[in-house]
């Protein structure tokens, strides 16, 4: 189905062990040319290990990594057509910004003329909006600026694939958002394949066109951001990507679940047999909150906490037999009489399409 020529990176049954520790197990992954793929997963799930095997800093214990259709076994990092933006940038402290960015170009054979190098370095610095910073020392740059130097240093070599290991982790939220947009724009303009490692699910969803969710050294889902969010492959993905309420219950018939509290909740049709014990994952925005007095139906509960988020409000609602549920309400949809207060009795109405059903 996938021929080698359209995939920039391919993992074929790759397992990596460090002594007794198995970091990743049987990874199969194909990254198409020009794609923006995010490797997403909790700490220690093997994201960096995967990236380092592409970069050539680690060798798979089993299986094979291919870049552009060519097997990479035994090929050292300096012969691979990929560049990496390291988690902590790894900029050379004894060079200025310009020399850092020029480093890769100076290694190229046949040699590139000095004038050409400085032209390309200048262009790369312009691209990351650091024109005029060339003569600065690395320790004279802020975190965000260093991050952009690291980016320029990698991109100036025009790699086939750019590997980014949590490049934005050290930045504050505002700068991170700005850099996310910048990275996305750059990726589209340059057409380079990006593989981004992150444990920030928002970042993964917002930036990439495919998300590879990993858990405990394995890939659990590889799909578009929408699909990962709307149709999580299992309860782990549902939990990890976005906020989720976990409920347990038993399937009554094709499209209703008897919750542990005794309440009946509608779900989408499933192929599971009635009577199956289930775990339900319900997105907070798939629950509608109504003031108890006005609504009929739904499940009764009491507001315990309210977190005001600006454009939306998050409620924690205690429901007897189910525990605390998280409910998100958009501001516009709120009734004119405003927000519910802690202590208010409310009714929760579930949207069947927002509930995901997994066998327990």
């Amino acid at each position: 189905m996938t021929s080698a020529s359209v995939n920039d990176i391919e993992f074929r049954s790759v397992t990596k062990r460090y002594g007794a520790v198995t970091a990743v197990t049987d990874i199969n992954l194909a990254v198409p040319k020009g794609a923006f793929v995010a490797l997403l997963g909790p700490s220690g799930c093997g994201k960096t290990t995967c990236l380092r095997m592409i970069g050539g800093f680690e060798q798979p214990s089993e299986g094979e990594v291919q870049i552009g259709g060519a097997a990479m076994a035994g090929i050292p990092p300096y012969r691979r057509p990929v560049n990496m933006v390291f988690q902590h940038y790894a900029l050379f402290p004894h060079f200025d910004v310009e020399a850092n960015v020029a480093y890769g170009l100076k290694q190229m054979r046949p040699k590139i003329e000095a004038a050409e190098i400085s032209r390309r370095v200048g262009a790369a610095l312009e691209m990351v909006r650091l024109g005029g910073f060339g003569k600065r020392r690395i320790h004279e740059m802020s975190g965000g600026q260093q991050q952009r130097v690291a980016l320029a240093r990698a991109l100036v070599n025009k790699p086939k694939v750019l590997l980014l290991d949590e490049p934005l982790a050290a930045l504050d939220k505002k700068l991170r958002t700005a850099m996310q947009i910048e990275l996305q724009t750059l990726q589209r303009e340059l057409g380079i394949t990006f593989v981004l490692v992150t444990h920030d699910q928002e970042e993964a969803l917002s930036m990439s066109d495919k998300v590879c969710v990993m858990s405990a050294g394995r890939i659990v889902q590889f799909a578009s951001p929408q699909e990962v969010y709307d149709r999580p492959a299992n309860i782990f993905v549902a939990d990890f990507v976005g906020k989720t309420n976990r409920l347990s219950g038993t399937l009554e018939n094709g499209n209703a679940v008897r919750l542990s509290s005794g309440a009946l909740m509608p779900v989408r049709d499933t192929l599971l047999a009635p009577g199956t014990a289930l775990t339900l994952a319900v997105r907070p925005e798939a629950i509608r909150l109504a003031k108890a007095a006005e609504a009929a139906g739904g499940i009764a509960g009491t507001v315990t906490h309210r977190i005001f988020l600006g454009s939306s409000v998050e409620y924690s609602v205690a429901v007897s037999g189910l525990g605390d549920l998280l409910v998100t309400a958009e501001r516009q949809s709120l009734a004119a009489d405003g927000l519910a207060e802690p202590g208010d009795p409310v009714r929760l109405v579930f949207d069947p399409s927002g509930a995901h059903v997994f066998p327990a």
């Binding site: 050539g56 990092p77 990496m84 050379f92 004894h94 320790h139």
Partner: protein
């Protein structure tokens, strides 16, 4: 009247520093002043010092040119040889050795210090002497090889004796080296040799400079190794000094040589620090 806390702190500091300061004053500053005074004096007829003010001792330095020449040639060359041998060892310890064994291996480097340098150099004297290696070579038909009392023997003794002092500072600076920088260099297409000369070596220069300066300075005053392995043939300023103070009892001339030596050491130190500082200024690793 109770003392103000600041005054009290100053008193404590003074009390702590005082013994060392007194020690340095009595055993370093005073003798140095004495040497300085002696250097402009004259040799008493029966030996020792006789008050005078003359530059004659300095004018006479040329008569010990061989000692100066040997010292000024062999000390830097010896330090350089030490560096060449020490760097790979330090690199291995800091970068390649498994962290599990690193501490053990590093302590092995200083194990030789458990035995006195004198004893160890004596061993070399025997090994290089006519009953040692040359004797063995003789048995396989290579005769008349002289090893002892050559510059080569002195250099060998120097590298042997001073290696740990060179390894340590280089090890320390290599150990601080962020290995991700080496990966980044490889990632950017640099072959191992380019990475070494472009990244590793420049970032370990402070250690290299410290080690080289340390060993060179100590070697400028070396006495034991040239005495034992150089015989009467390869002698250093240190040997000339012992000779002048203890044998011919020409204290003023010895003092003039000593003063000159100190001046050279200070000069070497200043130049080395200049260079080290230049690089140290760029070494502020600020990665996170």
């Amino acid at each position: 009247m109770p003392l103000a806390p600041a005054t009290k702190r100053n008193l404590v500091t003074s009390a702590l520093v005082a013994p060392a300061a007194a020690w340095l004053f009595v055993f370093l500053v005073l003798p140095f002043i004495a040497i300085l005074v002696f250097a402009f004096g004259e040799r008493a007829p029966e030996g020792g010092y006789q008050a005078a003010f003359t530059f004659a001792q300095f004018a006479n330095l040329g008569s010990r040119a061989a000692a100066f020449r040997n010292t000024m040639m062999i000390a830097p060359v010896g330090a350089f040889l030490c560096l060449i041998v020490a760097y790979p060892v330090a690199y291995f310890l800091a970068v390649k050795a498994s962290p599990k064994y690193r501490l053990v291996l590093v302590s092995l480097v200083v194990v030789p210090f458990w035995t006195s340098l004198l004893v160890r150099t004596y061993a070399w004297m025997y090994i290089l002497g006519s009953r040692g290696l040359p004797n063995l070579l003789d048995m396989v038909g290579i005769s008349d090889v002289r090893m002892l009392n050559t510059p080569g023997a002195v250099l060998l003794g120097i590298v042997y004796g001073y290696l740990p002092l060179m390894i340590m500072p280089i090890y320390v600076s290599l150990e601080k080296l962020d290995l991700r920088l080496l990966e980044a260099s490889a990632d950017l297409g640099a072959k191992p040799l380019s990475t070494f000369f472009g990244i590793t070596l420049p970032l370990s220069l402070p250690g290299v400079m410290t080690g080289t300066a340390l060993v060179t300075i100590l070697l400028l005053g070396e006495y034991l190794i040239p005495q034992l392995l150089g015989g009467g043939k390869v002698f250093f300023i240190g040997n000339a000094l012992v000779d002048l103070f203890l044998q011919s009892r020409n204290w003023p001339f010895g003092s003039a040589i000593a003063v000159t030596l100190v001046a050279v050491v200070v000069l070497v130190l200043l130049v080395a620090m200049r260079i080290a500082w230049r690089f140290a200024g760029t070494r502020q690793v600020d990665l996170v």
